[in-house]
């Protein structure tokens, strides 16, 4: 292959890679933009645009809303109940990877 043809091939390859990266950046940017817009719209429609100087950050208003809803539903006491020992018991379940593999084999599930 002559040097000229080789250089041309490399140039075309660089342009193709640059275009592919630009397309990928556009797709990722679209997802990021969509999340940001969704976030902005959610805050705007909830009317939580207050800043610190006006006496309430967006977060503190959201926290107040959660507490208020909880108290309104009369579920404050209900929500504070906890049974940690039952959950810790689940962490102590003795199931190994081999147990799962054996279960999968017996059921002829996908390996």
């Amino acid at each position: 292959m002559s040097l000229q043809v080789y250089n041309e091939a490399m140039r075309i390859r660089r342009r193709f890679l640059a275009s592919a990266l630009a397309v990928l950046a556009a797709l990722v940017g679209a997802g990021w933009a969509r999340a940001s817009w969704s976030d902005f719209w959610s805050r705007w429609s909830q009317g939580l645009g207050a800043d610190e100087e006006s006496g309430g950050s967006r977060r503190s208003q959201a926290v107040a809303a959660v507490r208020g809803a909880w108290d309104k539903e009369g579920a404050a006491a209900d929500s504070s109940r906890r049974n940690y020992s039952a959950i810790d018991k689940l962490d102590r379940l003795d199931i190994s990877d081999e147990d799962v593999a054996s279960f999968v084999r017996e059921g002829r599930l996908a390996p």
Binding site: L27, A30, G31, A35, E73, L90
Partner: protein, 273 residues
């Protein structure tokens, strides 16, 4: 700067703005169809759930799980608990996330319901297990709930409701607020989009794990047929309509295998509830 150079630099940003508003991003070529929307959705989800570490997620989820355990009690049958965990663990081998310590349990109530708490705590009720006819139906329900954790639906909701800020330092001081929100949401249910996404990816997970994918529509139908039962009311109130869910699932038929494991005998041997 030359105009063409400006346009070349601005093109990705302009494309991003345009693409973010598109509903569908499928392109066809070489006899195949490629869904570029998956890249967009993945980037969207990453940004939305970015601020919470797996450790913090598990702490929030543990609080909500402990609340469920206190309210309903865990069904005290080691055999049934082990079985449900094995079914769940057989499914999560094929799940996306590998940074979750999955735990499954049966709640001691005859209400038909299932819950997914962040950090991998998945619960089904005695009532729901009794409603199922075979292992593929139980696996279908678990697969749906696994998707709520796999896709970080609860964490995204925390973010959208302004309960999370960049850095999430406050979470270490105010775990109570985050867990209360999650507890409330588990009773209210996720939004319709998240529920339909859990159905869509749940049935794909079910098939990938080797179960009969019709387990999910059969489980939905069983629940629908029990509509008059007061124990079914909590489940019905929290999800999109039966017709809408079945319509959405039918669109995936071409992507699913026709058969898979049903395992009725194994299910009945382990769930004498």
């Amino acid at each position: 700067m030359r105009l063409d150079r400006i346009l070349r630099l601005a093109a990705p940003a302009l494309a991003a703005a345009f693409l973010s508003s598109c509903e569908s991003l499928q392109i066809s070529g070489g006899g195949r169809t490629y869904d570029l929307g998956k890249v967009v959705s993945a980037a969207q989800r990453v940004k939305e759930a970015l601020v919470i570490s797996p450790e913090t997620e598990r702490r929030i989820g543990r609080e909500a799980a402990a609340n469920l355990a206190a309210k309903h009690g865990i069904f005290d049958d080691p055999g049934a608990t082990r079985y449900v965990n094995l079914v769940g663990l057989a499914l999560v081998r094929k799940a996306r996330r590998k940074d979750v310590s999955w735990r499954f349990a049966v709640l001691n109530t005859l209400d038909v319901n299932a819950y997914a708490s962040p950090g991998g705590f998945i619960f089904v009720t005695k009532g729901l297990v009794k409603m199922c006819e075979d292992e593929s139906e139980l696996a279908a329900v678990l697969a749906h709930e696994i998707q709520h954790v796999d896709r970080k639906h609860a964490l995204t909701a925390l973010r959208r409701n302004n309960l999370i800020e960049a850095g999430s330092e406050w979470l270490k001081k105010d775990l109570d607020i985050a867990s209360r929100f999650i507890i409330g949401q588990m009773e209210r249910g996720f939004d319709k989009g998240d529920e339909l996404e859990a159905d869509r990816h749940g049935i794909l997970l079910l098939a990938k794990a080797g179960y009969d994918p019709t387990g999910l529509p059969r489980a939905l139908e069983a629940q629908h047929n029990n509509l008059g039962d007061p124990h079914s009311a909590p489940f019905t109130a929290r999800h999109p309509s039966f017709e809408e869910r079945m319509r959405a699932l039918s669109k995936l038929k071409a992507d699913l295998p026709e058969t898979g494991a049903v395992l009725k005998k194994r299910f009945l041997d382990h769930t004498a509830i």
